[in-house]
Symmetry: C2
Subunit: 553 residues, 2 copies
């Protein structure tokens, strides 16, 4: 290959949205990107981790034909690499006779074929990650030389060796430095979570300090079941400064030049590097819902509009993501619903311009009670009767979904899910939970953010005391501490994995802490059957948190 | 320590039932076992893998206090080791500064303290196992010397190095042989699955051949969420012959003597080494249900008795496991139910002697249709109406559960779960799925086995054509191939992970294969919210099979 010109090695960071298993779509995107880059005089395009398959295909990887299709897709992208080179993350078949059958690789493609393959050394196997389940880790790494420049390829976690709860034995970055790398290229599948940007700032600045090498971090965007990828790919120069950053939650690209070890760019920096939590969270949830519907081929959504704040926020997110014409909500008041429940819910739908229908659950509830007489006898009103109402609503929503094809959006928030303040097969129904990783206090903040310019959510929905309205005069605060306290206890227990003693030592009332932890542990069985949740924190309920049901807590 | 006497080293295999997180209970069991063993003149008691905590605590391991309690429990067991020694599987804190914070260890306890700790080298991270999520693998192993005998400790997977879909790089057994081990002791947490015994036979005979060392395999019994442990611990002598085997699904122990490298026993062999599939499956499911209820503190169960074979078999299993006095079933016929549905279901309950109640769903269904008029309009009868009935039944069963405290048992089988022939929040409700890993054909075989002496399940339930009875004249065979074919296609796709081409190459009709695979892929979203399933095959739906929902199949 020829040496680089005076202008240095021209590299494009390509931040794309891949779909798991859509080999043709993913390949076509990369081909298009390479075609444009070549026209723009680019030498090398960097795509992200597992770009051929999407991240992460989970147990689809157990099927032999899936890995073969990854290899074929990689070959197809290589065919586009004449007069240009690419770094593509892919599943490849482990060439060694021992160990797992696959590797998580970054392939260097040039002259129409795979020139080199570097496999991932550090395989994250915590929280939402299970890479040891599928991949054999690299025993060592190597340098890829292109146009006289020594490229060091470190896939995602390979650059996070000391930025974890634990420290890995090996530092792939240090090894690449020792091997003479002039730059570290970091194809990634780094999931979004609130606070992740400042963590990334620490990691990239820290690695700059350690190795003295510029870093190209190429993340992807997209929503995949629970995982949300936010992009924000970036080039970090020698001094640790961010030269350019790609936007959050959008496909985009930027170009940099590497000239005698110096990384420069003519691209815009792409400020802001960080965003405030609530606007970012709002953007994340709208994007997740859009991408979910797009990838699943869904168009219409439905949800139960209770007149409460959770459903109001979900409804606003749905209308923003899908358009008011694609959202129909059901109002299903009962005898225990407050006067304002219906009028508030109607006002919201009228503000948003989506369709709404009112279904009366009293006749159903009464018929259920009549038919259940052989079981209920003359027992007093209790949990069973409360759940009957919630499950009747779930049933009506699912009937609406089945009849109209609208996808049911779940409206539970993380605080409720945590303490089990929800009815299995009732308000826990749904195809996707948008707020399942959003604390009640964040739901309020989202409501205020949605109302930042106009009152979209009627003020009364925000100010009234939260209630499930399943018995007369019920308030959340009857059985739960204030959300300001509850949310913090949940966060400490679930996200920070503190035990009761540590939380109490932080100044919380011991009785309250023990009660809340007991509620959380006692609700594992409900969460086992809950819908998939859009993960936006460092520890979401779902596949990133695996708790035994049969256990003594 | 003193040398062994003329009779050799007397070792007891202790096969116990541990509960996850019940440190006091687990410790007390081991203490009791050591107390008895000492009285019997035993030198060494071998307990199984993660005996202090139960296997596997999952993300409870992320809590610092949980690992500390494992260490404390281990110390407590060590306190019982005066004049006797023990090998105890436990979580321990990784003494090294790098890597995961925990190790999966086998501790050698003697003279009141932990003398040695050997950690697990091969960490299974496939199917239901996620040990890389929690543990740092051993970099090397070592010999434990006791009374002049060199003991080689290999924890569970450490003896399965070449008996996997892939081969590990390292052989802990070979390493122990090279270090001079006279016996291999294999504390295990080896889950039950049909066919596992012949696999174990291959592994132990194969390892005997390789290393020429006797093996003590100490498994546990118990049900933990999805995982079922069957015991069947065994001592395998030099020639590869099984000297003794402990029973399936029972706490038990046996003694062996090791004398100048020769393993002998006076215990009974404990035949049969294997059992036929269906009696073993029946035993497994009854035990799982019993252990689930015992560990969860449940007493009473309920289920919907449709007059079909699945609910009939679940009802028989429940009555056998819990007693007829603890089982109440609901009969919930609709206008589409056949004449025999109720009479068959009544006959079964009368044969079994459990309580049954008949609830009419027609009034509820009709009220639902009336109230849904704003949504349904005059649309024709379809899936929505079918699901309304199934969900009404789910709602009545959950109301019964809430009101009476009886735990709802799910009645779906693996064939239905596979192809999505089930209604989410309807017949998919339940606290535990007993048949979720049992194919329809196995359900029939179980029914025949239950009837082996008397007709407990009315013949007509077994012989009539399967039907969900959700629309007039409906039969399973209207929309599904014969179960003899369907079950095989599902097994090849789900358990053997064959793709469409491989299955078609086996002689199945291409259209049928493609249709079935499409149904299986299309039902992932239902299984995501399905109840926990008792795992009895090598690949069960549940945490051992993780499929993306947002993907192109």
């Amino acid at each position: 290959m020829t040496q680089i010109g005076n202008s240095g090695l021209r590299i494009r960071l390509a931040q794309l949205n891949y779909k798991i298993g859509d080999f043709e779509g993913n390949t076509a995107k990369m081909a298009q990107s390479l075609f444009e880059a070549k026209a723009d005089g680019i030498d090398l395009v960097v795509f992200s981790e597992l770009a051929t398959s999407g991240y992460c295909p989970d147990d689809l990887l157990d099927y032999a034909h899936f890995a073969e299709r990854c290899e074929q897709a990689l070959d197809a992208v290589a065919q586009c690499c004449f007069g240009i080179a690419a770094i593509v993350g892919s599943v490849q078949i482990n060439p060694e006779p021992h160990g797992r059958r696959l590797i998580n690789s970054a392939a260097f493609l040039a002259q129409g074929r795979i020139q080199e393959s570097v496999s991932k050394t550090l395989l994250p196997s915590y929280d939402v990650f299970s890479e040891h389940r599928y991949f054999e880790p690299a025993q060592d790494t190597k340098i890829v030389e292109y146009k006289g420049v020594k490229l060091g390829l470190a896939i995602c976690e390979d650059l996070w060796d000391i930025y974890n709860d634990f420290q890995y034995r090996i530092s792939p970055g240090q090894r690449l430095k020792d091997l003479g790398a002039e730059i570290i290229i970091n194809p990634s599948a780094s999931p979004f979570q609130l606070g992740k940007q400042s963590l990334r700032n620490r990691v990239f600045a820290g690695q700059l300090n350690r190795f003295g090498l510029p870093v190209l971090y190429v993340n992807q965007v997209g929503f995949h079941t629970e995982l949300l990828f936010d992009g924000a790919s970036r080039a970090v120069g020698h001094g640790g400064q961010v030269l350019v950053q790609l936007p959050f939650f959008e496909e985009a690209s930027a170009d940099v030049q590497l000239n005698f070890g110096l990384l420069t760019t003519e691209s815009q920096l792409g400020l802001p590097l960080e965003m405030d939590d609530i606007p970012l969270l709002h953007r994340a949830l709208v994007f997740a819902l859009q991408d979910y519907f797009r990838k699943m081929g869904f168009q219409k959504a439905t949800l139960g509009a209770s007149g409460g704040i959770d459903s109001a926020v979900v409804q606003c997110l749905a209308v923003e993501a899908l358009g008011a014409e694609n959202v129909t909500v059901l109002l299903m008041p009962s005898e225990f619903s407050s006067d304002h429940s219906v009028s508030d819910a109607v006002a919201l739908s009228e503000n948003l311009g989506n369709e709404y229908k009112k279904l009366d659950i009293a006749p159903i509830y009464n018929t259920l009670l009549q038919q259940l007489e052989p079981v209920f006898g003359d027992s007093p009103f209790g949990l069973a009767e409360e759940n009957l109402q919630a499950r009747t609503r779930g049933l009506l929503l699912m009937a609406t979904s089945n009849k109209t094809g609208a996808i049911l959006l779940n409206t539970s928030n993380k605080s409720e899910l945590a303490v089990g303040y929800s009815t299995l097969y009732g308000d826990l129904c749904g195809s996707l939970s948008l707020l399942g990783d959003v604390y009640k206090q964040q739901v309020y903040a989202l409501a205020h953010y949605i109302n930042r310019e106009n009152e979209i959510i009627p003020e009364h929905i925000i100010t009234k005391a939260p209630s499930a309205e399943l018995r007369p005069g019920q308030k959340d605060s009857d059985s739960l501490p204030d959300y300001s306290i509850l949310d913090e206890i949940i966060r400490k227990y679930v996200e920070d994995q503190q035990g009761a003693q540590e939380i109490i030592a932080d100044g919380y009332d011991p009785n309250m802490v023990n009660k809340v932890l007991q509620l959380i542990n006692g609700a594992e069985y409900k969460r086992y059957q809950a819908p998939p949740i859009v993960r936006v924190s460092k520890k979401s309920f779902g596949k990133g948190r695996r708790m035994p049901l049969v256990a003594q807590y």
